[in-house]
Amino acid sequence: MKTIAELEAIRKKAQDDVKLRSGSGDVRVVVGMATCGIAAGARPVMMAMIDEINKRNLQNVTVTQTGCIGACRLEPMLEVYEGEDKTTYVKLTPELARQIVAEHLVNGRVLKGQTIGVFEKEEA
Amino acid sequence: MPKETMTAENFQKLDDLILQEKETKGALIQVLQKAQDIFGYLPIEVQQKISKGLRIPMSEIYGVVTFYSQFNLEPKGDYMISVCMGTACYVRNAQPILDEISKFTGIKSGETTPDGKFSLIACRCIGACGLAPIITINEDVYGRLTVEEIKGIMEKY
């Protein structure tokens, strides 16, 4: 290693890999990964989510999984926690997951069409 | 009986080792460590060879060998039983454990059984204080021991 720039490049790259261990960020994304969730395709959703977050180098977001959120018919679903606020997204695809990152996490605009409220109304 | 290690092949390995380390400053302890890895212990013949090879007086070599507890002048048993007698183990009753093993093997700390099967030592802290009291038998580790467990463990060997 001959320059500090080289060291810095390695550091940046390696940091992405270990930031998982720094404890909870300000924003938590929780993906429902019970049997029903997995069967409905939660795994690709979660991986797309993580991939997009890493690509955009978002520092304060952690992605965790949880068991059954309770609305199996709406899986795959995930919840975004920001402080006291909770947004629940349902019937997701990997593409929608990427949109949530871009719109909600980066721009702060909730993806209205995909939230649980909308679907419950439709069904009602 | 312990395996015979004073073979021509092992002495050849020693010669290579000496040749390799001859120019290194202060290499004596490393050479002795590696020689002990080859032979299992450091008999006078081996020390003499190192003395000639490294051009260090025999008195100095013997002095170093007897100074450090790691070096053995006698061959050791097939199974090395080390009972940790660090402070943490001691206050959690390591002494009765050592006594029980002595009773089972019939040897005291620092001795080897006549059939060359077991050697017993009371060793210094191995730093696994969370598992105190602890013993090791070659590579196997037994932690959080009670006197009652000793018999069962010893019978495995």
Binding site: - | K25, F67, G130
Partner: protein
């Protein structure tokens, strides 16, 4: 880049490895593969998490779930429940002593709350065998800063201003050592690291070597730049095979990546280093003895001056610091001397790592700011004494330290306070003793150690430790008199003032401190011929409690020397004290707790 949603950290410190940590790692990898999760979940082998009592330890991130005493059978459950379905396996989660609820995350545990990790900051966080992980946590940034922005004098000044004192025992100001070595005349100089951690019950240096070896490599290179040395030696205990292996990996990686070798960061500065393994001699932790041993000879101390800073390894000026001291350096460089000096007490800056062991709930390694009281350390971080027993003493500083009683537990820990209590910081061993430990026996135990480890060069230590040991044997065997206690005390004072090196000068501390604080126990041994804690065999008596005896005769049947008499069903049994060999078989055999020892 590889993408993982979860990291499984498995402790690879010696304590956990002794209880199957490597097998747990293998099994996790197999299980993950079986369930097709190997691309999503990464298994990382780290250094010591510190809470060895609970080992083997597995932590799952991002949740920070702390699984303790994990068995091979548990791996499948953690994989199938937690890693697949996100359900934390509650019954395997560590529960703190005295608490009903399991802690949901490592960040909320009492053991870690009061801690402040500087020297141990990466232990249990990174994989010590991967250079990139060290770099991710600002590794080698301090070396880069030093080589490109600072003059050697500025580095020495920074270390001086931080107030850092040697963590190996003596507490000598580190910055002054650096200054002396940098000013010493000499074409060749060396940097050496004392990793000959010989105090029984202390394992913080091993933990740094195993958990964060690059920190030492980086730090020694910084020291080399500051004092004008181009070569370093690390003297490691041969009993630490995992530490030696990881440090060697770190040195090789640093060399391959140009962090050791020639022209580091294009600055023109060259530095390289090697490991020298010790061969088992406690006295080699003393600096002049250690230097002798690095040179390949008998590790015997010599008179100072000349100090190593003038005449050290191969008679060249040598900077010698211990592992924990070095581990603080990169942080001091990056965060500044003021930051470090802001932690701790007036005369003892920064944090100190302690190895807590003995009769304590949370056995393990902890790093706390200087000035934390002994009571906080033992009862809050350490979780108190197990099995409802009463605290009796805490022994600090290994065989060189003393035993501190309950009355002084509110003392803030720093170098000077511990010395004024008749103990010392030492390398940071802290062994807790409860009511079942006999203080005379403990003093005897330490003398057994120092007598054996005395190198034999100077008479006060060689002969004195032997005589002290003999006197203590006599007292514990019930043959001692009041005069013996007095003789012991005066002998101890002579050895303390007349010995050549630190080993002899501190060897009497366990004796002096136990006489000072627990004189009543000594007096019970010599006057009443009793061991109040019931440890010293020769002074024990096994007695049948007549009111509790059910006349069953089980004790008499178990007695190997047939010294218990009585009539089954009719007469209370009686132990013949003349014949009794004090084996304790009757006590264990009695189903009604009708036999007591006292």
């Amino acid at each position: 880049m590889e993408l993982y949603r979860s990291h499984v950290l498995v402790c690879g410190g010696t304590g956990c490895v002794s209880s199957d940590a490597f097998k747990i790692i293998d099994l996790f990898e197999k299980e993950l593969e079986k369930h097709g999760l190997e691309k999503e979940v990464k298994v990382v082998q780290t250094g010591c998490f510190g809470l060895c009592e609970a080992g083997p330890i597995v932590i799952v991130y991002p949740e920070g779930s702390f699984y303790s005493q994990v068995k091979l059978d548990d791996v499948t459950r953690i994989t199938e429940e937690h890693l697949m379905k996100g359900r934390i396996v509650q019954d395997l989660i560590y529960k703190e002593p005295g608490k009903k609820e399991a802690s949901d995350s490592i960040n909320n545990m009492g053991f870690y709350k009061k801690q402040q990790r500087v020297a141990l900051r990466n232990c249990g966080v990174i994989n010590p065998e991967i250079l990139e992980e060290y770099i991710a946590y600002d590794g080698y940034a301090a070396l880069a800063k030093v080589l490109t922005e600072m003059s050697p004098e500025e580095v020495v000044e920074t270390v001086k201003a931080s107030g850092l004192r040697g963590r190996g025992g003596g507490g000598f100001p580190t910055g002054l050592k650096w200054e002396f070595t940098s000013k010493a005349e000499g074409d060749i100089k060396y940097v050496a690291c004392n990793a000959d951690e010989g105090d029984p019950g202390a394992f913080m240096d091993r933990s740094v070597l195993e958990g964060d070896p690059h920190a030492l490599v980086e730090s020694m290179a910084i020291a080399g730049y500051a004092v004008g040395a181009e070569y370093g030696f690390v003297y490691v205990r041969a009993e630490y095979p995992i530490a030696v292996k990881r440090l060697q990996i770190a040195i090789d990686q640093a060399r391959e990546n140009g962090l050791l070798g020639e022209d580091i960061f294009g600055s023109g500065f060259n530095f390289d280093m090697e490991i020298r393994e010790g061969a088992g001699a406690f006295v080699c932790g003393e600096e002049t003895a250690l230097i002798k041993s690095i040179e390949g000879g008998r590790g015997m101390p010599k008179v100072r001056p000349p100090f190593p800073a003038q005449k050290g390894i191969f008679d060249k000026p040598t900077l010698l610091n211990n592992v924990e001291t070095f581990a603080n350096i990169p942080q001091i460089i990056l965060k500044g001397a003021d930051w470090f000096a802001g932690i701790g007490t007036e005369k003892s800056k920064g944090t100190k790592v302690f190895a807590l062991g003995g009769k304590i709930n949370n056995t393990g390694l902890l790093e706390i700011p200087m000035g934390t009281t002994l009571r906080e350390t033992i009862f809050e971080v350490g979780g108190g004494i197990p099995n409802g027993k009463a605290f009796k003493a805490v022994q600090t500083g290994g065989p060189s330290g003393g035993c501190i009683p309950d009355a002084h537990l509110d003392t803030p820990i720093d170098f000077d306070n511990l010395i004024s209590l008749g103990s010392m910081m030492g390398s940071g061993g802290m062994i807790v003793m409860d009511e079942d430990n006999c203080m005379v026996d403990v003093a005897r135990f330490f003398l057994d150690f120092t007598e054996e480890e005395s190198c034999g060069k100077c008479t006060p230590c060689r002969e004195g430790t032997k005589r002290m040991h003999e006197l203590l044997d006599k007292i514990t065997e019930g043959k001692g008199t009041q005069q013996d206690v007095d003789k012991l005390e005066s002998l101890a004072k002579t050895i303390k003032s007349a010995s050549l090196c630190g080993l002899g000068q501190t060897a009497p501390n366990p004796v002096l401190s136990t006489i000072k604080y627990f004189r009543n126990e000594y007096e019970a041994h010599v006057n009443d011929k009793k061991c109040p804690a019931g440890v010293c065999q020769a002074l024990l008596q096994f007695l049948v409690i007549p009111e509790k005896c059910k006349k069953c005769g089980i004790c008499a049947a178990k007695c190997p020397v047939d010294c218990i008499s009585g009539v089954k069903g009719k007469e209370v049994y009686l132990i013949d004290q003349e014949e009794c060999i004090k084996c304790g078989a009757c006590l264990e055999a009695c189903p009604f707790d009708a036999i007591k020892k006292g």
